[in-house]
């Protein structure tokens, strides 16, 4: 075990830090510490501009291979980048779905044409993506998707168009996105994991309607997305028809959580804000709150050590135990942090910044953390997965 970084890596750290110090200022001062779940709807244009600025410096998609415009950064360098980004107060990345989900999926499973068509837009911070998985009848039971994709052949070479019809729901940032990756049924007779396709769909077309859903925060970061014969070219299906499930799931194993370090930096910013408030309003003298603040600090540190273990883990890409607990761990930790923030605010926690429903940052964070234990696999589903895959306990019966 070795926790220190090499001199080259330390030099890389200086490079990142000085670029951020020079650039995350002036017109970008306002985005410091902003964005991310719960604050996603704020300063959207400014944060999009920041994505382009990052690209100018060569700081988007640094973990992608060089041939696709990334830096081919090592795991260590990605860790360092995320640490320095956090230290500098870098805003939540609006392009994270493209950079960490769509892009790597295309790199791993996509055709050359797809790589040429889609990767540069993600890299430049100009094209944003959303994830079209969930449907009204396919939540935890994701394999139950009903959205259909029907192929219209135009010649014998395989050219033609897929027509996609159905409804997606809870689609985050669909209203800000140029593209959506959609899983839909290519074989109408099929059930469960079989007969699905993975499609790259342009949002700006007549067959796609985005309707915002108002959340309990009063804001709308996710949407319903209706597909009515939406078009997707034959060249825009990733993998073969029927292999969509494999593509959708394939990345989980390889990714090993580099992107989670980006999330931890936001958590650190939130935690620091709570500590600052506690010192200012006297909550720091309350013994019960002191215990919970220390517990939150301990929890966040361990989250980081756990990711470091994940990142150093098996080269074969298999998901190790420390990786299997990760979602359940961070979601539960963050939900507790939300509650802690309100308890530190005390009586002021109820009072909003304004009408009709203008939440302060910590208030918004608090409400939003209630979704952390739901999206991306609920806590219950995580526990099923851990019990079955890591502990070898019997699988849940299916209806």
């Amino acid at each position: 075990m070795k926790l220190s970084f090499s001199p080259e890596d330390e030099q890389f750290r200086e490079e990142v830090a000085s670029w951020l110090a020079d650039n995350l200022s002036g017109e970008f001062e306002c985005v410091k510490g902003r964005g991310g779940p719960g604050d996603e709807h704020h300063l959207v244009e400014e944060r999009k501009a920041w994505e382009r600025k990052l690209h100018e410096g060569g700081w988007t998609c640094i973990g992608w291979p060089k041939e696709y415009g990334g830096r081919g950064a090592s795991i260590e360098q990605q860790v360092i980048f995320n640490e320095e980004y956090a230290r500098a107060g870098g805003p939540g990345r609006i392009g994270h779905i493209g950079e960490t989900l769509a892009g790597p999926t295309i790199i791993a499973f996509g055709s050359d044409a797809q790589k040429q068509k889609y990767l540069p837009g993600i890299l430049r911070g100009e094209e944003f993506w959303c994830q079209g998985y969930s449907e009204p009848s396919a939540g935890s039971d994701l394999a139950n998707v009903k959205t259909k994709a029907v192929f219209e052949k135009t010649d014998e070479e395989g050219a033609g168009t897929w027509r996609i019809s159905g409804q997606k729901v809870w689609t985050s940032l669909a209203h800000e996105s140029e593209f959506c990756f959609v899983i839909a049924r290519t074989d109408p007779q099929s059930v469960a994991h079989k007969g699905l396709g993975f499609f790259l769909v342009r949002m700006d077309q007549p067959g796609v309607t985005v309707r915002p859903i108002e959340q309990l925060t009063g804001t709308s970061e996710f949407n319903e997305v209706f597909f009515d014969e939406a078009e997707c070219d034959a060249s825009d299906i990733v993998g073969a028809p029927g292999e969509g499930w494999k593509v959708a799931m394939g990345l989980l194993g390889f990714e090993r959580g580099v992107s989670t370090l980006g999330q931890q930096m936001l958590f650190q910013n939130e935690f620091d804000a709570i500590v600052k408030l506690a010192k200012a309003n006297g909550a720091a003298q309350n013994p019960a709150l002191r215990q919970r603040i220390a517990e939150a600090h301990i929890g966040l540190r361990i989250m980081r050590y756990n990711s470091m273990r994940m990142l150093s883990g098996g080269e074969d890409g298999s998901l190790q135990k420390e990786a299997m607990i990760y979602k359940l761990y961070w979601a539960t930790w963050h939900r507790n942090l939300g509650k802690l923030a309100m308890d530190v605010m005390g009586q002021e926690s109820e009072i909003l910044e304004g009408a009709p429903y203008e939440l302060g940052r910590l208030q918004s964070m608090y409400l939003f953390t209630r979704s952390d234990t739901i999206y991306g696999g609920t806590n219950q589903i995580q526990r099923n997965i851990i019990a079955e895959r890591a502990l070898g306990m019997p699988r849940e019966p299916r209806g």
């Binding site: 220190s4 851990i386 070898g392």
Partner: protein, 389 residues
Amino acid sequence: MDFAFTDEQQMIRDTAESFLSEVSTSEAVRAAMATERGYDSALWERVCQEMFWQAIHIPEEHGGMGLGYVELVAMLEQMGRYLFCSPFFSTVCLGVNALLVAGSEEQRAQYLPEIVAGKTATLAYAAANGGWGSDAVTATCAADGEGYRIDGSYRYVTDGHTAELLMVAARADCTAGDEGISLFVLPADTPGITRTWLPTMDQTRKQAELVFDGVTVGGDALMGEAGRAWPQLARVLDLARVAVAADQVGGAQQSLDITVDYLQERVQFGRVIASYQAVKHKAADMMLKVEAGRSALYYAACVADEALQGGSLGEGLVEAASIAKAYCSDAYFFNAGCGIQLHGGVGFTSEYDIQLYFKRAKSTETFLGDASWHRERIARQLLDGEAVA
């Protein structure tokens, strides 16, 4: 950065596992814990001669293996898993650490080879119910000719009734807190020392009370500087906390594993109880605790390693030790407690081993500061801007 065991570390871990699974069986643990001594002397001799574990992080110049804290922690985790009854913790994690941190060149050259040869040791500093900080030191010391005279009593001393070598803290009259504390090393049979075994709820680790009544030692017994030993003692205690956390991770893991084994066998309502979701989810929570605890532990082990080698990461020892001890204390207690519940009635019998883990979880939780003690220490750093030792 590579936050995973090296091949050599993995080998040390695996060797410990296979040896302990053979010698530290449930029967062996129960036989050892029923004795006042608390361990099987023949087995300890075997460990010292064949396995050479007592020498693991003693420098090679003193006849040791010269390995680091990560290797030590890898082994301790397995000892916790198998509830290994031995003077290893007291001798190596208290005694050797105290000599490494606070011993003079001469003291190390004299005592470390003795420990390599099989001598046992322990550390005594805390009085009855005085907490685990510097205030716990109430024994006094005063200059007496060329040497010192020590008076007072110590409780909760791990293996205090059997250890052959003692390291003890005492303070100058009219001093309080971190001030005035000195550390001494002396043979346990020095005249004036009364040692009494204290029966404990967790019988797998023995504790004693030591009473010093006009004990006189030479000037060469003093470790470090007279009256200024607290920072060194504090460092020894933090190193020991990391070692306790290792024991806890091992115990938390075994609590989970033996519970899952039981769940897979026991049938109720026509199904193995492992198939019920309420039971699966509890087991998943137990796995989360032990894996997160392990992440905290391995980080603390790397920090402890650098603290002993003088690396820069070592500056974070206080925080890393508190994080590991706080989290692993709670994790072990949670896992062993859930373990009893998921076993049903048999979990409440003395026959099933889960009760042994439950008791060990509580004793390790209390020892050297429970979770809330360590959280308060972190809170002082975070909220009061204090540098805490």
